[in-house]
């Protein structure tokens, strides 16, 4: 049977790459002794399918993994409790759900991602102005690198939503983690970061948060970037591949801090 898992990637683990994460999952599934279906051939690998790669350095509360299991009656609800201890602290399985055999892949389905970006370099007023300017434009042509080649195209259509935000905890959403605990020592110097909320399209060519900051102007530096939602647009409505239960996200944040 096919199973979809939603997991978070928080804390120091954000500095691992997408490939690193795939290896962590392979080991975790073996540790949990789940009967994962393997590919054939001389170099068999477990059949895992991840959604859109998260940039190295970004956090997330909405990563997805589809796994094919060689067993018809898996206790799907028990999977988060089984898998989370087998994963490094910072990667927590939040929800699990069964998946139809013919369900389309995450890569095909997801149309946009929602991001929270904590940035420094500019104060809130400057950032407000830059955001306003970008949103007023009908097109925004930039040159960026894709697979080693320079690509010039219009990124404006990929910016679905952009705003300088209030701290997200106040808005009732999973927000940035609390300040590092006292034992972490010296505080980060410099002015407080400003929060930017963005929804960026993933198709036909996705826009990355770092590229968005580049387009806003020079001197902006990201302090923390977090993906909070991946959206599927279907029949005029927006869906999450697996919605988060109301109590799950805060628990994940506790474990990593």
């Amino acid at each position: 049977m096919r199973v979809r898992l939603r997991f978070g990637k928080l804390g120091k683990l954000r500095w691992t790459s997408h490939r690193d994460l795939a290896r962590m999952w392979e080991r975790a599934l073996r540790r949990a002794r789940l009967p994962v279906v393997y590919t054939g051939g001389f170099s068999p690998r477990p059949k895992l399918s991840f959604g859109l790669a998260l940039p190295t350095g970004a956090e997330s509360t909405c990563e997805y993994l589809d796994v094919e299991l060689d067993q018809p009656d898996v206790d799907v609800e028990g999977l988060p409790g089984l898998l989370t201890p087998a994963l490094p602290a910072g990667v927590d399985v939040l929800v699990a759900g069964g998946l139809e055999e013919r369900a389309p892949s995450l890569q095909q389905e997801v149309t946009s991602c929602q991001w929270e970006l904590e940035v420094t370099g500019w104060g809130p007023p400057e950032l407000e102005r830059a955001v306003g300017t970008v949103l007023q434009r009908s097109s925004l042509t930039v040159t960026r690198e894709r697979k080693g080649h320079a690509v010039t195209d219009d990124i404006r259509p990929a910016i679905l939503h952009l705003a300088v935000g209030v701290p997200s905890a106040a808005a009732g959403e999973p927000g940035p983690p609390p300040a590092p605990p006292a034992e972490e020592g010296e505080a980060t110097p410099g002015p407080a970061p400003v929060l930017l909320r963005a929804e960026l399209a993933t198709q036909p060519r996705g826009l990355r948060p770092a590229e968005l900051l580049c387009a806003l102007g020079p001197g902006l530096e990201e302090v923390r970037v977090r993906r909070t939602h991946q959206w599927i647009e279907r029949d005029g409505a927006r869906w999450e591949p697996l919605p988060l239960g109301a109590t799950d996200a805060p628990r994940a944040l506790e474990r990593v801090s």
Partner: protein
Amino acid sequence: MSSLWPRIEPLLAKVQKPARYIGCEDGAQQPVHSPGTVSWLLVYPDAYEVGLPNQGLQILYEILNERADALAERAYAPWVDMEALMRQRGVPLFSVDTHRPAGAFDMLAFNLSAELVYTNVLNCIDLAGVPVRGAHRDQTHPLVVAGGHCTFNPEPLADFVDLFVIGDGEEVAGEITQVVGQWRSSPRPMPRQAVLRELAHVAGVYVPSMYEVAYDGPRIVSVAPRYPDVPERVEKRTIADLASWPYPKRQLVPLTEVVHDRLNVEIFRGCTRGCRFCQAGMITRPVRERPAEQVRRLVREGLDRTGYDEVSLTSLSSADYSGIDEVVAGIIGDPECSGQVSVSLPSLRVDAFTVGIATEIQKVRRTGLTFAPEAGTWRMRQVINKLISEEDLYGAVDGAFSQGWRRVKLYFLTGLPTETDEDTLGIAELARQCVAVGRRHTRDASVTASVGGLVPKPQTPFQWFGQVPVAEMRRRIGLLRDATRRERGVALRWHDPEATLVEGLASRGDRRVGAVIEDVWRGGGTFQEWSERFDLGLWEQAVAARGLSFDWYVHRHREREEVLPWAHVSAGLHQDFLWHDWQDALAASGVEDCRWTPCYDCGACTGYGLEHVVASPVPPAGGSQGTGQDLSRGGAVPVELLHRRPLEAGV
């Protein structure tokens, strides 16, 4: 002391592979620092992905953290991009476990596995905020320690390292902890030199500042202790029984890509094959096997805990382990291991038996097979005492290709004593023959011959041999290129002879070479073992500036009477044994493996009251390499091994 993490994290977005710096591996520890605890920072002076898997470091990490009076964290050399940012922002070298500054530890302990990392050692000491020269340090600084195979010639680093550990570190790490703990807790601060003198009394510890070297021109006249209570010779430490040290128990599982990313279980330590070029085989005697039951338990528990699907049974020659076939079959057949586990044996022996095991264990994932005949002709292999007959090699290669492998890799050395062009070209001939054998089974059989230049190592019979110069190494590689260019199926790879030259300097240098290492480091020459960073020009300049010469240290044949720079450090091997073995080499005469034959008193057992710990009294099955050798012709016929050494050719 607080964590540097808030100052480290902002740098990570700007560097390659930031996961090198975060720690968080499964098995990582977060020890609690307190005044009564001796804190060790175990530093691997190379990039994280090379250093993390190092088993020696992981063993000490666990043993020290199990002690009530010690704790240990880890650090790795930051890559050049990270180092530049750290220096720019004033961030010192840090541990990856709690991100504590390196200078806040009591001990900075380096693992020395290869000579080309020496400049990185200086760089790490400097990044820790500690003076690079021992003479400039005071009570506020950590003690700088080094262990690992390179310490069998500690002299090139003598000015930078306060104390060296010679041999196995399992026991001595605790003894050093006790001395340092007393020093740290003494009400009146003892001067640094006093604690170092105390440490010089610990068996296996070499404190270079307690010794005076006298020179006559370029020659060393003597290396003598400054004080009567300091030993004239430092004897290596050897743990008698590997079964008492079932470590690592919780092998670190990295979060990012590293070399040897799999479970490693050490099945024995030491090797008595007696390959004359092999320093590891000479300095780690005798053979100490881990009991099969313990091996099985470490494998099962390790796989369960880590989720790895590959285990490597490590040693210097794993097919020589008593009953290796049963152990391997046990792992493959263990239902607990769920049938998806592959086993790898580093350094495969060259014979059909070994290929049989390889076939068994690589059912799951079949990559290339690697053999190390090391030399191209039987005469040459007798010189280096790597007694593989051509029948053995072709039998192994035939086995490999018949079992479905399509690529075989062969390791060779050039620049060997008495090597002629015929011997060199023998490498191409062997490779060609191996392809021909492979073609019987598959049309696209390919053989890669990988050729390295010999670096004569201290504490081996070749320590007196003058290393072949770069130009001559190049000529020999050229011969091989010409000979293999038109050979379908043969690919030739070679090691940079310039790097080999510098390895030679660092391997057999004395204290005066330390200034060269310092100059190269100050000139920006870090990560010299990385070909894209290696810079021969820096080394040549420094050697010239210090009035030294490569000829003296590297290319010159040494004399029996001269005082070798490392003579006051002992691996237990009698100098007479090494010299006679060197003479046997020149006479192209091989010696047997003493594990299964009468002792020829090299000194490693008798001098320390040790014995081989080997489960099987008879040699393993296989070709001539396994059953003892008919040294007169290298045939595969087993012979009765009654001779005492040395066996002359033709006996």
